[in-house]
């Protein structure tokens, strides 16, 4: 088994991790589990011996690592290792992380530090292409909202009380707020009557949404095909 740069192990580990990993977590995970360290120099010395590569491993452990291509877990007399040997200091891990961060500059993925640690994620520039497909359907607006919007569009400027007059039912503040938040309706003034109610009108955003240039491009009510039973009403 050829010596592996610590950076590459961290790289793969972060890519294969479901959650961000902190430096402490990385340090905790980057260990060799050996129950017999007698062949090693003092375990404390291991990290400094190893620098950025694991080539510094000596004796039994090194031999085991090279032969065990599949499982680098150190076994001693067939027993799984018990005492984990740290592979790197926090400093070395930090160095590897910042090296990785610069390696991935300008790539489609980048190493990002978030609250709980480091993780690879798609770069901002390519995010639109990687966005999770819309799993949920867009919600639908209520009939009341549609009617309110229609009345404002056709009879603007109009107060809420006047809308309620036409609809014959109260207009909830929620509907008016939703229409304002979508930038379809806004307050254009206040009527000189007791209470000075707000006058609502449609916005440019409303016209844009419906691909209209002017308000008069809105279909005339007569354009709406009437059901046969109501045909006589049209001529009224």
């Amino acid at each position: 088994m050829p010596p592996i740069e610590l950076k590459l192990i961290i790289e793969a580990l972060l890519f294969c991790s479901e959650k961000p990993l902190s430096v402490a977590q990385l340090q905790q995970q980057l260990v060799m589990r050996a129950s017999d360290c007698s062949e090693l120099t003092d375990p404390v010395d291991v990290p400094s011996n190893m620098q950025n590569t694991l080539s510094g491993m000596q004796g039994l452990v090194r031999h085991e690592l090279e032969s065990a291509a599949v499982e680098p877990v150190v076994t001693v007399y067939g027993q799984p290792a018990q005492v984990p040997i740290p592979l790197a200091t926090a400093d070395e891990i930090c160095q590897a992380l910042s090296a990785l961060q610069s390696d991935y500059q300008g790539r489609g993925v980048q190493l990002q530090e978030v609250a709980s640690g480091f993780r690879f994620q798609s770069s901002i520039e390519v995010t639109p292409w990687v966005l999770q497909a819309k799993s949920q359907k867009a919600p639908r607006y209520s009939r009341a909202l549609l009617e309110t919007l229609a009345i404002i569009a056709y009879k603007q400027p109009i107060t809420r009380a006047e809308i309620e007059d036409v609809r014959g039912i109260a207009v909830s503040s929620h509907i008016v707020r939703t229409l304002q938040e979508r930038d379809w309706v806004r307050v254009v003034g206040h009527k000189e009557v007791p209470g000075k109610p707000a006058l609502l009108a449609t916005t440019r955003g409303f016209l844009d949404y419906f691909n209209l240039r002017y308000l008069q491009d809105l279909p005339a009510l007569a354009d709406l095909r009437q059901p046969v039973t109501e045909a006589t009403d049209i001529t009224v």
Partner: protein, 295 residues
């Protein structure tokens, strides 16, 4: 067969494996399990030591059926499959089957079928051949040899398959989480223009105002102008009268603007102010500066 003979047979099998460490990599761990029963290597075990049936079962499980056992027996003799000595192999095979019976293990039917097949081949080989018919006479072992060869091919193929670099061992898949659309923007409902119109139609019908529908088309431009004037008055307290009109809109545009102003005055939404005679005329919102807060 006596129990002590059976034990001897097991020991023989085990020792064979010890001597042939390189013969099969896979079987060795299982052999070790067998050897470490009661914490003792089996080769140091006295002949009368009781072998628990479970140990034999473990041993049995190392063979993937009668063909595998036969291959093992052939290898043990360092023989090529093509030079199989039926009599010898049959005897060893029968000993093994007898051993399993002695330990009252549930013998898999296939082992007994193979025992019968071997017996048949053995007796056919013993039959005298009519002279001159040798060339045409099929080797009685041929079918068995072909099966053994064929099985060995796939046994090897399985070993090769096991050594192919594969996921979860040589390679780990990477699946970074995709950013969610919700992180970027909220999904908002969509409305079709038809929906809007039909909603309006319904509400008008309900309100009994349907008879007025014919006036809607024309006043809309006036309503729009009214909105625009009110909007302009939100930005500036005083809107010069002249600014309401755009000559580029032509005569009709001017008329629309004028009607809009009249309509706004009628609805007490705006006032016309003039500081002095011939001074500029301004439109002022009657309620002052509108605030954007809803209601």
């Amino acid at each position: 067969m006596s129990a002590s003979l059976a034990v001897q047979q097991v020991i023989t099998l085990h020792q064979d494996i010890d001597l042939n460490q390189s013969s099969s990599i896979e079987e060795i761990p299982e052999m070790e399990i067998f050897a470490l029963i009661n914490g003792q290597p089996l080769r140091q075990m006295p002949q009368d030591l009781y072998i628990p049936p479970e140990a034999l079962e473990v041993f049995l499980e190392t063979f993937e059926g009668p063909l595998d056992l036969l291959l093992y027996l052939i290898k043990k003799q360092n023989l090529d499959i093509l030079e199989i000595k039926v009599a010898e192999i049959t005897r060893q095979y029968m000993d093994y089957v007898a051993l399993m019976e002695a330990f009252q293990l549930e013998l898999v039917a296939e082992y007994l079928v193979m025992a019968a097949t071997l017996g048949e081949i053995k007796s056919r080989c013993l039959l005298p051949r009519p002279p001159g018919a040798e060339a045409d006479e099929a080797d009685p072992r041929q079918a068995l040899i072909e099966r053994l060869q064929n099985y060995e091919r796939f046994k090897k193929a399985a070993e090769q398959l096991d050594h192919l670099p594969r996921c979860e061992r040589e390679y780990l898949p990477i699946n970074l989480p995709r950013p969610l659309q919700a992180d970027i923007a909220e999904i908002l409902p969509t409305i079709l223009l038809e929906d809007l119109l039909s909603a309006f139609k319904e509400v008008i019908e309900r309100a009994g105002l349907y008879e007025h529908h014919h006036i809607f088309r024309e006043p809309l431009s006036i309503r729009e102008r009214m909105t625009r004037i009110l909007a302009a008055l939100q930005r500036q307290a005083l809107l010069p009268f002249a600014e309401v009109f755009d000559v580029k809109e032509g005569r009709q545009g001017v008329v629309v603007s004028f009607i809009a102003i009249l309509e706004l005055i009628k609805e007490s939404l705006i006032e016309i102010v003039q500081a002095a005679l011939f001074a500029p005329i301004y439109l002022v919102a009657k309620t002052g500066i509108a605030c954007d807060a809803p209601d």
